[in-house]
Symmetry: C2
Subunit: 112 residues, 2 copies
Amino acid sequence: MTTRPRRADSLRHTDPVDVRLQEALDALADPVRRSILRTLAGEPDFTCACGTFDLPVSKATASHHFAVLRAAGLLEQIDQGSRRLNRLRRVEFDARFPGLLPLVLDEDEPTG
Amino acid sequence: MTTRPRRADSLRHTDPVDVRLQEALDALADPVRRSILRTLAGEPDFTCACGTFDLPVSKATASHHFAVLRAAGLLEQIDQGSRRLNRLRRVEFDARFPGLLPLVLDEDEPTG
DNA sequence: TGCGATGTACGATAGCCATCGAACAGCCTG
DNA sequence: CAGGCTGTTCGATGGCTATCGTACATCGCA
């Protein structure tokens, strides 16, 4: 009935409203994930595919990190062909946890 | 030469200014530690000894958690006899990481 | 001086999670 | 359709850390 592609089955989004502080902190406690968020913050919405990030981990691990960030209400993803484009949920997440995301985005140290 | 008691040797404080976001998030990612902070926030400064907290862990583990919080610039401790009294470094920590501590203190769920 | 209370230090253990390679699936282009 | 690209899933592994019991140190008090 639905015309939605099979690929989207792995795209469960979590509304930031439903995210607990524990999950948010767990998600943000990883330096690789924070670097993903910072990169995303510097680009327009839905212009970064997962594979375009320069990360010090394998693509399997990177995929895991994107899933964690999505589950924590930190990003929205849409499929475009074989690519998965990302958007930082800046406003919604900041409404749920005021000030938390800015701390991450303003972090001056890139290495982690 | 110094008249400082031996006991204070285990009291290295970290100025919140010198704390990195990574350490802060690691410290706050533990539910036991967050419950310590919330308890502390509800009492006057330097009125809670470490042993007075009702925690679901052994005293050895509790001591470890207090050390982590102190190292993250989240609390100040002073010795009073055989007791160690605590103060939440609310203002200093909030100056370093604006908004972060309030998120923890306003956390409505006690279980973690 | 001896005892109980408070808290730290140490060594061991267990569970969690970041990580990886390999296999798999969808998508696009030649 | 074949091959390459993008991304997920799976099982295994290693490291980190929360946890504990025990031993130890310090302090106040009888």
